[in-house]
Each structure stands twice: as C-alpha cells, then as structure tokens.
Amino acid sequence: MRFTGFAAGVMLLLAGASCRREERRFSEPAARLARPVHAAQQPSGAPVAAFVDNAWSVSEGQRLYGWFNCAGCHSLAGGGGMGPPLRDAEWLYGGTPEAIHRSIVEGRPNGMPAFGTRVPDYQVWQLVAYVLSFSGRLRLDVAPGRPESIALGEPASLTDRKNPRPPAVHP
C-alpha cells in the first residue's frame, strides 16, 4: 500500500515536470518588443522558469541562435570567436539569466548589437534559455540535443579522394 502511494507520488511529480517541459506555447503573452531598459532598471518579474523548464522554448532558442546569426560571433556551440565564449563561467556582464537578457536587449560595447527593438521579449528569453545550455545550467531533460547541421550542397563521396569531406565542426 505504501509502495503504491510512493509510486503514485513519484509519477505525479514526473507528470507535473512533464507537463511544463513539453508545453508548446504558440501564443506568448510577452510578445511585445523588449525595448532597451536602463541598466539600473530590473525587468519586471519575467517568468524565467517558464522558459528554462520548457524544452520547446530551448529548442526555439536554438533555432533563433542560428537565424539571428548569434553563431556568427559566438560560434555554433557558444565557443566564441569574434565574440566571447558563452560556454565558460566567465561572464563579462553577468551570467545570470536576467543579466544575459539585458545584454541581448541593450547590446554591449565592442560589438554586441542591441536587439531590444528588433526581437520580441519572449524570443529573447528563449535565446537566454538556450545560451544557458552551453554552460550546462539546464536540467538534463530540458537541455537540447546536438543540432542537425544541414550541409546544402553536393554531399561529398566517402570514396572521392580528390574532394575529401571537410572535417565536421559540430558540438
């Protein structure tokens, strides 16, 4: 009897986590643009957990990371290049979700553009959630898997010695 109760409890817990993780929110309330805020002004009660606990949001963040060319400076897996790496524990302007959100919205010196007027707030939070995955701060069941990198072009032949396949550079 006790075992049944315990099992039911565990299932309910998992079920609750499941529901939040798997939700697909197509109509976001926070669809307004994230206008640049003054550095001292904290963003009003953004539901970070709603994004960081949601696998679909993280996956959307992954898509936007490519679409908005974040990878152009920070590279595909956050390894950095022209821009600083996002994988390590060094954060020039703060590594909390709120700080990352502000960096994206306000822009930063030496090349980080301000996306506040160009990206809806909820999409910034999706990007924040994805960026957090680089430093392993997402729960295992929410973290994204490896991305599909699609090579648009003639697939190199494995036996073609004249045109060897370029080494894959993927996370």
């Binding site: 697909r24 109509s27 679409w67 990206v119 809806p120 599909e148 699609i150 072009g153």
Partner: protein, 343 residues
Amino acid sequence: MRRHAAARFAVLATGAGACGACDYRRGALDPASPDAMLIQILWWVFFWTAAFVFTGVLVALAVALYRGRGRATAQGSSPDVHPDAALERRTERAVLAATALSVVILVSLLLASVFGGRTLFRSPHAPLHAKLVAHQWWWEIQYHGKTASDLVTTANELHLPAGVPVDVELASADVIHSLWIPNLHGKRDLIPGHLSHLVLRPARPGSYEGRCAEFCGLQHAKMDLRVIVEPPAQFSAWLTAARRPAPPPATASAQRGAEIFARGPCGMCHGVVGSKASASAGPDLTHFASRAWLGAGALPNSALNLRAWLEDPQAVKPGVQMPPTRLPAGELDDLLAYLGTLR
C-alpha cells in the same frame, strides 16, 4: 506528341464518362502535363484490371456460397475428411488455373509499370532551371540567370512557362519534405543532405496547387505551393519584373513603413531586394504584394488578412516560426502601406 493527343483524349473521355456525374477531374486525375497524363493512363489500366479481378473474386465467392449452401441443404452437415480424389484434382487444377491467370495479370501490370516509369523519368533536356528549397513550413524558390544580379528569390509561388521543361533542383533546409503537384507530376521527397531534381513540363496554362506530402511538423497541413503556369511570353515578362528590386516607397506612410520593416523585427528574418532588409531566414518579400496567398496557403493575400496575420500569425497557423508584430496602430498602418507597394 500530337499523334497521342487523340489517344489521350479518348482515355480521358472514357475515364470521365465512366465516372458519371462525379467530379473526378481533380488532382492526379486532372493531368496538365505529359507526365501526369502518363500516370493517369497507368492509373486507369490498373483500376480496370483491379475492378475485373475484384468482381471475379466476388462472383466466385458468391457462387461458392450458393453451391455450398445448396449442398448443405441436400446432404446435411457431416464432415467430409476424405473427399473424392478426382474431384479434388479438378478443384486443385482450377486453383492452379486461377493462380496462373493471376501471375499473367501481375506480370503484365509489372511490365506496364516498369516501362511507364522509364518513360516518366527519361529526363528531357530542360532549358530552364529553378531551385526549390523546402523549409518548415514554406517554400523558397530561386531562379538563376546568367549573372548573379539575375537571381530571383521568391516564396510559395512557382512560376513556370507552359510547354517548356523546367529542371527544378530540390533541397531541404531542415527536415524531410515532399513536393507534390498532382496535376503536373508525381511527388519527390526533399531530404536534407540530398540534392535531387524533378523536371516539370506543364502543358496547360493555369493555376495549380502543390502541397507538402511528407509530415514535417506542426504546420505540414498549411504548406501549399501555388504553381502558376503561363505562356512563355508572359512568363518571361514575369521573370523580368521579378528581377527588378522593390521600388522605393512613394508615400510618406510607406517610407515610414520601410524604416519600420528594416529596423524592426521584420528585418531580422525577411529580406526585400532594394531595401535595407536583407535577411534570408524567412520568405523573401520583394514582390510580396503580387502573391495570391500568404503564409504558404494559410490565407488569401488581402489587406485585412495581412493585418490579422501580422498581429498574430499564431492564431492563423499555430506553431509558425513568425512572432506576432506588436506595433502601435499608426506604425502598423505604415508597415501595411509599405508592404502593399511590394509588387
């Protein structure tokens, strides 16, 4: 080609006539190209053969039931474990004969299919080239020309000249999609990492529907491709017009709209040749206003629908990769004015 026109018409007429009052002339049964016509002919061959076989089996079953019930009434129901040997042999010969007939029919159908397939995929020389890239959940179409500035990039509408084969190169940007224009040809999967070709030879001018035919996610249902087949002269005129960049906006409202487009969220994903917006993650909007549909078949392209789409695309096509455009009313009007100039 012309010799077969009469035969084609005859088959079409037979097919249409046989179906009586039903409107069968849709989709695959309404061919507008020699390829779709070949498939349709093959379809009717298979259909009538199947109808013949099906009727035969049902008649045999009915006769068997009749005779069996008759025998039961006459002879009672004691089981027959050692049936008469001669009768058994006759029965087994009948089964053998039916099997032999099945083999003959199947082999004939096989030959028809194989030879039909070979004819279908004998790639004719195609003077025109286009490229189709499938995305979740829209179609990107490119027409290359002799120089780089002749490149036309458009979305969700494929223009083809009637009577001229077009070699369409197929690629996918994300998952497996499938191009299916039933009036013109069979379908071809667009597989990421694979490049394939389909030669389209529409014969009849008109407007046809293409669809995605491989489940590709949330909005697989709303990924329509409009195929517009025009006489070659009209097609050339269209292509020339498409090569021109978008005209600079004339009215003040449209100019403000252009600024909003390029500096705001629109420019993060969409591009308009001739403006400051040059992103390519989403559909190219250079000649957006001249398209009949928006959202890959989600809504007809009208001012009212466009406003609704911009305000909340998720209400029209839940899951689409476009966020709502939250602009103050005045700015939205300017944006709509600008979009209306993109012919």
